[in-house]
Symmetry: C2
Subunit: 574 residues, 2 copies
């Protein structure tokens, strides 16, 4: 390694990072996903634009040799950490709790696109394939590529709509989790025969068996071991996430090494480790936030920008193929998930909203497309078509969900709910469960004999996914059997109560919401309304000053600002 | 890049990271610096141990070729980020405020070791030199190597002693800052002629001029631009450090690229950028903490462990050379700094304490030694001697400082101080300045006509270096002209007041301390006593419950636990 190589490595790195972040921020300002800007940065710096204008400058900024190998090392780490981060979002507790409807939605949401992808794979002319003689494998890849979804994008959309923590939000998330686990597993399996000359069923079965063993081990033994270990670290140094950080990264690297040994792609190991680690209730949201900050701001932009260094997007753009892939992907996914959701007990509108949520492909699809390109599974044209499909499906998911769920609730509802609800100006609780108990007892007159059940449901729901939303607000809630109409109680806690919010701050405004079972749409509307009302900092301050229920009602009945609410809490954005 | 290389890169990375973190934690538990454990990990995994036991395994875990190049890319980034982190600790405001004494201390603290190093360089036999014909350059390197100090280690030592935020602590820190800036500059200059055949005075002058221009530009223009830009980012997204993170890393990379172009080492650019960025009052301690967590837990351990992969520490260990280097380094540094401090107006004891503080070399010396080894400036023997010297001087600095400052204050003093001071059970202040004003007015009867001046001094001192120490405690303090004896006021703020603590938490316990000018030792003793008293979480909880001055006095007069206080706030540890 000499100084010249180091210089060029640093030049490549800084030009990718700086441009990707700049373009990413510009994209965000115009309402597009970060990843659109980041990929555009690569398009500008790579063969598509700079390479055409001035090939000399491009070759100087991104030379081959050791500088490129170092950059490859960096992007390899980046994609590994990105998948780990996606895994951290997966919450197996949520999945198991949503049970039947999540399983049905995700199952049909995989099968329909799989079928659509197979059809696509068999329809495309030989010229679009790298190895026409291995059309079956290609078709299988298309099936997997169309069936995958994108947890982080979905989470972001749900957050934007203010329904991340509702029941329907959790349903979308858990269906997406099952979806991703299955999708990445299938893709990893496909990579192996794609490289070898022939499909060896025996070898495939051995790989499948060892992957199964790895996943089972990671999710059962590994998960518990990590949880116990976290407990120990947390007791010793509650404030500092340093040791957990090291441990998580070491485990992700180990997972990657394991899966590489098993013959499947390293990212799958990172993802599985992320799932196992993220599931520990002892992993603090704050530690996740530190990892998230670093990965999305230092690693991910370089990775996404470097994508477009490999391909000339202009010459590889094929409108026919793009429309074909986008059409089949969207129709198959939306149809499959809607039918699945309906069978799982949702209304058609709700099922449709879930389906459009799951239709978002985002960064995950792009990573998968890149790996397929690197493995010589697909041509640049198909790569570009998949990238376009990923971005288009992500962009359409929010507007469609919003339309179908009609979250534009009338603003007076919240004030009316509080008016017949309860208000506690000074919660004495030290923990989340106590605060919930206090608020439930304040509602006791209206609850009657379901009071006890209500308390139990909310605490249990809280355990599944904490409802601290950041900015010192928490919205514990649950559907309660036997309840006839929604009930709301507002409590203020000057000292704050820990509801495990992503920003780590204890909640000073605690809003308890109880809804009748199955009233998804109503719940969504109320929670979205709460989110909108409490977004402006001034409103939160005013609410905290409320001395009586009347004060609080006045604050909540005030007109809202006209602009769209920007999410203020940490969201996985790519 | 094929899968085999990626696999081996990940194997090297995970074995270094996991072992270094494990050994690092073990070292910390036994009271040694983290870096001792991290280097030991490399000694075990490298040629010194594993290479002797099983060369095959070592070659498998750390192969050459692309896997090594990727690892080199990672360690290059690590050292760059480490130096940037060291730069972030540098506070030019503190340096300029300490003025004369800091300048004198650091000046003589550079000149004496420089002279000592020159003598060493001329005394050593030809066999110890790589190029005996260029003995002058080698001697100059020895001088620089002996004169450098280690900000992070020094900061950690001061924190351990509980005197980081005292005037004497700031003096040590600012002398070390000047020291490092000069030392790294000199070293960077030396690297160039060491590579070429002859010393070209013209080229050297050009380099010197361009470095001067770079440093001036970074510290004047760059610093203001960054500050303005930070202000904008901060207004838009106060909670999320994401954009600042990207910006800081991009600037560090740019700085490195600039200095590489100017013909000096990349780390100097990272360091200067760190100084420029870290100086912005808008850089939040929380953002620094996120960078710190990631760099010290994910990057630094791999770098320090990888050091010992290059050298067989056992065969390159030369006791004579180690003792010689350690002896000259320590004597020259302690003598120089003591004389400088005395001339700057300190008492001999205090000057001695400052000198032993500055004698710590730590990670900075090790980085410098590695760069010299890579540039073929020194032999492995000299490298090992410098590493040993770095670790030994770091280890001895704490005990000597403690002894000289005799920080073992009698425990009743604090209670007595509070007894005749003031107590405010419920501060109404929203900001640090208001809180200080409230506490100063509570002391007004004892302060008389210096009250106004006292308030001004404390607020000004706060601006120089915030006194939030973490764990919801802040200790605003200052030396006040005209004051006859120390005065203390304790305020409790249930809502917390932001004193810009490293852990980002607002202070609920605010202790105002006013001391007569020049009473360094007294101030040190009292602050150390406060730190010790408030370290146990239970004590802090009890204090927060205090309703009257009598309650608080009882809590503070309670016996302390016997074990040494472990620093609970974020400290730069390597």
């Amino acid at each position: 390694m000499n100084e010249h190589d180091v210089l060029h490595f640093l030049i490549s790195l800084v030009s990718l990072l700086a441009t990707a972040r700049l373009f990413g921020e510009a994209a965000r300002r115009t309402g597009l996903p970060l990843v659109v800007g980041e990929i555009s940065a690569g398009i500008v710096l790579g063969p598509t634009v700079l390479g055409h204008i001035s090939p000399g400058v491009e070759a100087w900024a991104f030379p081959g040799g050791p500088a490129k190998v170092m950059l490859d090392g960096y992007t390899t780490l980046s994609v590994l950490l990105l998948l780990m981060l996606a895994g951290l979002e997966v919450d197996l507790g949520v999945v198991s709790r949503r049970g039947r409807s999540a399983l049905l939605t995700s199952l049909l949401g995989i099968l329909f696109p799989l079928a659509g992808g197979l059809v696509l794979g068999f329809l495309l002319p030989d010229a679009d394939l790298v190895h026409p003689e291995r059309r079956l494998l290609f078709a299988l890849f298309c099936g997997v590529a169309l069936s995958i979804s994108a947890l982080p994008v979905i989470a972001k959309t749900l957050l934007d709509l203010g329904i991340y923590k509702t029941d329907i939000g959790l349903l979308v998330m858990s269906a997406a989790m099952i979806n991703d686990l299955v999708g990445w597993l299938c893709f990893s399996l496909l990579l192996q025969p794609m490289r070898g000359a022939a499909l060896d069923v025996g070898a495939l079965l051995v790989t499948l068996g060892s992957i199964f063993a790895f996943v089972t081990f990671a999710l059962i033994v590994g998960r518990r071991a990590v949880d116990a270990f976290f407990g120990q670290i947390d007791d010793e140094h509650p404030a500092s996430p340093g040791r957990m950080l090291s441990l998580i990264v070491v485990l992700a690297l180990l997972g990657a090494v394991c899966t590489l040994y098993l013959g499947i792609h390293a990212v799958f190991g990172g993802f599985v480790v992320g799932v196992a680690v993220g599931d520990s209730p002892r992993l603090r949201e704050h530690t996740k936030a530190v990892i998230h900050e670093f990965v999305t701001n230092i690693f991910a932009p370089v990775f996404f920008a470097s994508l477009a260094l490999r391909v000339d997007f202009a010459s590889a753009f094929d409108l026919r193929l793009c429309l074909l892939v986008l059409g089949i992907a969207t129709i198959a996914k939306v149809l499959g998930c809607s039918v699945g959701g309906r069978l799982g007990g949702l209304k058609w509108r709700e099922a449709g909203a879930v389906a459009f949520g799951l239709n978002a492909r985002g960064a995950m699809e792009i990573i998968l497309a890149l790996l397929a390109l690197e493995a010589d599974m697909i041509r640049p044209k198909m790569f570009v078509a998949l990238v376009v499909m990923a971005l288009a499906t992500s962009l359409m998911s929010g507007p469609f969900m919003k339309r179908l769920l009609s979250t534009d609730t009338e603003d007076e509802e919240l004030a009316a709910l509080l008016q017949r609800g309860a208000f506690i100006p000074d919660l004495s609780a030290a923990g989340a469960s106590e605060a919930i108990a206090e608020l439930v007892s304040a509602l006791a007159p209206s609850l009657g004999d379901v009071a006890e059940r209500a308390g139990r449901c909310v605490v249990e729901r809280e355990r599944v996914a904490p409802t601290g939303v950041g900015d010192e607000v928490a919205i514990p809630h649950a559907a309660v059997e036997g309840l006839q109409r929604p009930l709301l109680a507002l409590g203020l806690a000057r000292d704050g109560v820990d509801f495990d919010a992503p920003d780590g701050r204890p909640a000073k405004i605690v809003i308890l919401l109880l809804v009748p079972p199955g009233a998804y749409e109503r719940e969504v509307r109320i929670l979205a309304s709460i989110a909108r009302h409490l977004l402006p900092e001034a409103a939160r301050h005013e609410l905290l000053e409320a001395k009586s229920k009347a004060d609080a009602v006045v604050t909540l009945s005030r007109a809202l600002p006209h602009h769209e609410p920007a999410p203020k809490i940490r969201v996985p954005e790519t």
